[in-house]
């Protein structure tokens, strides 16, 4: 490993940490989309629980990364300033709301929709915390951009919508309104990506490292799914609609996950070292 002065890619967080952002974000997105879709009963319960399971997988992955896993509960100690503590608290709240909402949906009880909405709000807070975790990491210029949290939230919602459409295709369900929402989320993600890319443009190393994942996000994760969703929207064959929408969902999900993994393990160049003045030995130049 080089010790500078030029920046190098951080090695403190690896794929396990990236998995938390990937799975946790996609799971949160799925919970939000499940609430927005207006789904009820068993499908809603399954989607909520699947989203929570993904969040749990992400947290488990990061638990495997921490040096002292038996002290993991210490993570709750500093919600006053640490976004990691806030993320942990949000995860607990999210879990409570999702379990409650899933139970109400599964038993067709009143209050299911309202509790699902609360779960969606908690999911948004959770994924927002994930974005702010990166934003607060001053040592990584590409992460500390003010555009990072918006990008993390936007891509998580798009990934959640992608998952939703994979499931919808598998169960032969889905609406054109849902397709429109999916398309809108893809566009929001594209704008968030463009804004983030502009914000890190001066960081040549990170920009270059993130270019492949960004291109994939733009082309394979946005443009192509939008075309597929557009064709699906005007198609009259249910099988074609669901096949195209499912493929679009898989592309949106996969490219989003790949982008977040790249953000953590490839584009995370540290600050490096820099001195504004060289020492003057003799007369100043």
């Amino acid at each position: 490993m080089s010790y500078g002065p030029t920046p190098w890619v951080q090695r403190h967080w690896d794929l396990r940490a990236a998995a938390n952002f990937a799975a946790g974000g996609a799971g949160s997105g799925l919970i939000v989309v499940a609430a927005l879709s207006g789904a009820r009963d068993a499908p809603a319960a399954v989607a909520l629980l699947a989203g929570l399971a993904l969040v749990a997988v992400g947290l488990f992955a990061v638990w495997l990364e921490i040096g002292r896993p038996l002290r993991a509960l210490n993570v709750f100690f500093n919600p006053r300033t640490s976004w990691m503590s806030r993320e942990a608290i949000a995860a607990v709240v999210l879990g409570v709301f999702v379990l409650r909402a899933a139970w109400l949906h599964a038993t067709d009880s009143p209050g299911a929709v309202a509790t699902g909405a609360a779960a969606a709000l908690a999911a948004l807070v959770f994924v927002g915390c994930q974005g702010m975790i990166l934003r607060a990491a001053k040592g990584i210029p590409a992460w500390r951009s003010s555009a990072t949290p918006w990008l993390i939230v936007a891509t998580s919602l798009a990934e959640g919508a992608g998952l939703w459409w994979i499931a919808a295709a598998a169960h032969a369900q889905g609406t054109r309104t849902g397709l429109a929402l999916f398309g809108a989320l893809l566009c929001v993600r594209l704008f968030a990506w463009l804004a983030w890319r502009r914000s890190i443009a001066r960081n040549a190393r990170a920009s270059a490292a993130m270019a492949p994942a960004g291109t994939a996000l733009s082309v394979l994760g946005t443009a192509l799914p939008l075309v597929l969703a557009g064709v699906a929207a005007i198609s009259t064959s249910p099988a074609v609609v669901l096949g195209l929408a499912g493929t679009a969902g898989a592309l949106a999900f996969g490219t989003g996950i790949a982008f977040k993994i790249a953000l953590v393990v490839r584009g995370a160049f540290n600050q490096g070292f820099a001195i504004p003045h060289m020492p003057v030995r003799g007369k100043r130049a």
């Binding site: 210490n74 640490s82 820099a274």
Partner: protein, 234 residues
């Protein structure tokens, strides 16, 4: 109040890494962990090349990002400005390490020794509490506290001064109280042009770099002023 700070005179540092070795000796850090290290920076193209040796490590920031992000409150800042880590609270999440813009933090997952198996001195000083948690330069806080308790002055009395400062062969490193206008570090900063690294990130480092004598207060003019003051006193 007291604000402990370090000053590195870039004109004096010769890059000998004695400070690095002294730090490793004083703190028994494992291979690959250098709480104090010296960068060798070269800029320009032949024949117009400049070179600087830059001691780096924890900057003991006024507003340490490592402390803000720490989810466990393991990282704290003392009233005297020294940033510390409570190894019993730290969960080893390394969030502090990615939040530090000075790459000053380390996490060692398992015990490692210079030649594989622990030598006698390594086995004696191995501290399992420092495994899988964040570690970094402490400004030799134990030496400072013990020295103060014994009535010594950090930065002046070697027993109360960080090991890297004591070891420096060129007196390039100086340690002292920034809030004391008569301290060694305050005088150096007054008489020399200086900067702090990554000032734009507003972390308020407690580590200053001297790069030239001050046009107004340093070098011959300052010496002349001191002589005049002495003459006045006489």
């Amino acid at each position: 109040m007291t604000r402990w700070a370090m000053v590195a005179d870039l004109r004096r540092c010769v890059g000998c890494q004695t400070c690095t070795a002294a730090c490793k000796h004083a703190n028994a850090t494992p291979p690959g962990v250098q709480w104090r290290r010296v960068l060798d920076i070269e800029i320009g193209n032949f024949p117009d090349v400049k070179r600087a040796f830059v001691p780096v490590g924890c900057q003991h920031c006024e507003d340490p990002p490592c402390m803000t992000v720490c989810p466990t409150k393991a990282t704290k800042k003392r009233a005297d400005g020294i940033v510390t880590i409570d190894y019993d609270l730290c969960i080893g999440c390394a969030y502090c390490a990615v939040a530090c813009p000075y790459q000053a933090r380390y996490k060692t997952e398992r015990a490692t020794f210079a030649y594989g198996k622990a030598a006698a001195h390594e086995a004696k000083r191995h501290d399992p509490d420092r495994l899988a948690v964040a570690t970094k330069c402490t400004f030799c806080v134990d030496r400072i506290d013990a020295g103060l308790a014994a009535g010594q002055q950090p930065g002046v009395d070697p027993e109360a001064t960080p090991a890297c400062v004591n070891a420096c062969i060129a007196q390039a490193l100086t340690f002292g109280d920034l809030d004391d206008p008569s301290s060694n570090v305050s005088k150096l900063l007054e008489m020399n042009e200086h900067f702090r690294m990554h000032e734009e990130l507003r972390t308020g480092p407690g580590f200053y770099y001297l790069w030239d004598r001050s046009e107004e207060t340093g070098g011959v003019p300052a010496l002349k002023r001191l002589v005049e003051e002495a003459m006045d006193l006489a």
